[in-house]
């Protein structure tokens, strides 16, 4: 019949192509492909992990064995004196303590200030908002090295040179957190702040009860970036302080070889290993926070 020829014909197996119909590589070929990827990954990991392993190895050797050629990868003979010397003859724990104190303070204060500023720039109308934000962004474009000397004078004039304040206050002025959090807050569901306003929140309560919980993933990112940056910052702590008991880890590490004649590489390696271990732990802690909260973010309606 004429009608029949017009009827649409569906494929026999119905619907979408079945998985079996899609050509699959033979087992041998799959194995071969997998091996290639594994090998490539192995080489890349070796390149990435190698230096860390070498530093770890050096930290358990004495400096004399270091210059053998070809270089040894394993610490033979195995000694721990680098570590004992580091913690007994140098104020290593003090450096760590200073670093953690400064990095933690900067991170906490920065997260609070930046999220408040981000909220203000994202949601509030006030005179000069654009200009103020523009100026803040401009400071991103000034090289840090250029600020060193002016900053030094400012800190000296404030009378906080060679104090913890000198280490904590200047890094707070970095605008990257304000910039990031502002865009995150702008991306929050439309009108949640208005809903909170109708629900009798003042601006601080909106920030505290609604915005802050919602931008937690962003806060963790800012916290991580800030903490890591503080942990490894060297030039300003060197310039801004003088006394030995204010030295942070980076400055302390640099002071391990006061005279170039006898550089104790083993000692420096040991200090590096310990500091890397600490920052790794902190990073993992923050990262676990990030995972926990990013799930919450995904539930956003």
């Amino acid at each position: 019949m004429a009608g029949d020829s017009k009827r649409l014909r569906f494929p026999r197996y119905g619907g979408w192509p079945l998985a079996e119909l899609v050509p699959q590589p033979a087992f041998g070929r799959r194995l071969y492909k997998g091996t290639g990827v594994a090998l490539a990954l192995a080489v890349l990991s070796a390149v990435a992990v190698g230096p860390f392993f070498y530093v770890l190895s050096i930290s358990f050797r004495n400096s004399i064995g270091l210059f053998n050629y070809p270089p040894h990868w394993l610490p033979v003979p195995f000694i721990v004196s680098n570590y004992t010397r580091l913690v007994t003859q140098f104020p290593f724990w003090r450096w760590i303590g200073n670093t953690l104190l400064v990095a933690t303070s900067v991170t906490l204060i920065k997260v609070v200030i930046d999220s408040m500023a981000g909220y203000a720039f994202a949601k509030l109308e006030f005179a000069g908002r654009r200009i103020a934000f523009g100026v803040i962004l401009l400071t991103l474009m000034v090289p840090q090295a250029m600020l060193l000397i002016p900053l030094f004078f400012i800190v000296r004039d404030l009378g906080i040179y060679d104090t913890y304040w000198a280490l904590i206050l200047p890094p707070l002025a970095n605008p990257i957190g304000v910039f990031m959090l502002r865009s995150i807050i702008r991306g929050l569901p439309k009108d949640v702040d208005n809903a909170a306003r109708v629900d009798n929140c003042n601006e601080f309560q909106i920030y505290r009860h609604v915005v802050l919980p919602l931008i937690k993933p962003g806060l963790v990112v800012v916290a991580t970036i800030t903490f890591v940056a503080q942990f490894s910052s060297f030039v300003w702590p060197l310039v801004g302080t003088q006394s030995a008991n204010l030295q942070v880890l980076t400055v302390g590490l640099a002071s391990l070889n006061p005279d170039r004649a006898s550089v104790s590489y083993g000692l420096i390696a040991a200090a590096s290993v310990l500091s890397t271990a600490i920052i790794t732990v902190v990073f993992l802690m923050l990262q676990s926070q990030f995972k926990g909260t990013s799930l919450l973010g995904a539930l956003k309606g």
Binding site: P189, K190, A195, A196, V198, D199, N200, V210, L214
Partner: protein
């Protein structure tokens, strides 16, 4: 529960020439279901935000229950609002969301718990209280937003297109629930929508807005039957009203509307409109598709060609053309008609509207001047007293 009054409200945004809202005078009675209707960008949401206190009027005065509230922050106005995208707090559970307005007002914990249960119960959310917001469907989220609004017994509830994010079936269902809810809590409701079906079915009164001004204010019936101007006429009613340009001519004892394709004899109501009126040119005839009849071409003066037939189920929407004029008409679904047919049309002269060159309905404007009692319904139009039409 409360009444709302807006006096000469105007809202301008910096660097925008045209005000978002201008010269709005409005009284909304206690317990009324009031609808602000208009196309997007007409200022209806802005007006709602002005009432809520989320925006400050550039000029004018807003009163809630007689008290001026221009400088009262939103949280102290005793109003609740449901936002278009619900604006729920995604990091909280359903219970925490509904409880939040109470928590921010430091309501005692036991009382709050009771109020939350009651509010959740009235929108059938009782079993979902401990769920996170992310685990809810669109309709459920919408109900959470409603529960959050009614939980503290607000004087007025402001709803900003609350149904626009729901699918068609859920929308009708929620519309009914909303009406039931309104009847049970008897709150004053200001409801913003661009959907004229929602407006017609739900509102005691409708304010049709366009470009920041209220074009017409009245009961759904009055707005539908007596559109005050061309904008209201074309905005209210589906399918849209036919608008045909032409002139008025005096003939025998009455007047006729006429152009190259259409001629409609106007009834006596129009005599007073045109009597002593010098210019009778550039008028527009408005007629809804259901008031246009299709007839055999032999009985008609003009021959129209059927261009397009759209099936509506019970009815068919037929577009016919004569020269450069197009008219759409609704015919019963059994009418034997096909595209390409030549037909005649007749227009029910009781159901036409005449708009002058400025786009104003000549009869409605006359009625507003108080000169003539055109129709009882048109008078009831301006009476803000609420009679429950349901």
């Amino acid at each position: 529960m409360a009444s709302l009054r807006l006096e000469q409200i105007e809202k301008r945004y910096p660097k925008v020439d045209e005000p978002a809202v201008r010269q709005v005078d409005l009284t909304i009675a206690d317990g009324e279901f009031f609808v602000l209707l208009g196309p997007s960008g007409c200022g209806k949401s802005t007006l709602l935000k002005l009432i809520a206190g989320l925006e400050e009027p550039t000029a004018g005065q807003i009163y809630i229950d007689g008290a001026p509230v221009n400088y009262t922050p939103p949280g102290r106005r005793n109003i609740a609002m449901v936002f278009q995208d619900y604006a729920l707090y995604p990091h909280m559970t359903v219970r925490q969301n509904i409880n939040f307005p109470l928590k921010m007002r430091r309501v005692e914990r036991a009382a709050a718990r009771e109020a939350v249960s009651a509010a959740a119960g009235s929108v059938e959310l009782g079993e979902l209280l401990e769920r996170p917001i992310g685990a809810l469907s669109g309709g459920q989220r919408q109900r959470v937003a409603l529960a959050r609004a009614i939980v503290r017994n607000p004087a007025a509830m402001l709803l900003d297109e609350p149904l626009s994010n729901l699918d068609a079936i859920l929308r009708v269902q929620t519309r009914d629930e909303l009406l039931r809810l309104h009847r049970s809590i008897k709150a004053t409701i200001v409801y913003v929508t661009h959907d004229q079906v929602e407006a017609m079915t739900m509102g005691h009164r409708i304010a049709v807005m366009n470009r920041g001004v209220i074009e017409q204010l009245g009961s759904p019936r009055a707005v539908f039957d007596y559109p005050r101007n061309l904008f209201v006429a074309s905005f209210i009613g589906t399918p849209q009203m036919n608008l045909i340009k032409g002139d008025i001519a005096r003939e025998h004892n009455g007047y006729v509307f006429r152009n190259s394709s259409v001629e409609v004899t106007l009834d006596d109501r129009y005599v007073s409109c045109f009597e002593g009126n010098g210019r009778l040119e550039r008028f527009t005839l408005g007629v809804r598709p259901n008031a246009v009849m299709v007839e055999p071409v032999s009985t008609s003066k003009m021959s129209w060609q059927v261009e397009l037939i759209e099936e509506f189920g019970n009815e068919r929407l037929v577009s016919v053309r004569c020269r450069d004029k197009r008219i759409r008409t609704l015919v019963p679904n059994r009418t034997r008609i096909a595209e390409g047919d030549a037909v005649g049309i007749s227009i029910d002269s009781d159901d036409v509207h005449i708009f002058d060159a400025a786009g104003v309905n000549v009869i409605a404007s006359l009625a507003e001047q108080g000169g003539h009692a055109v129709d009882g319904r048109a008078q009831a139009d301006e009476d803000p007293a609420v009679t429950d039409k349901r």
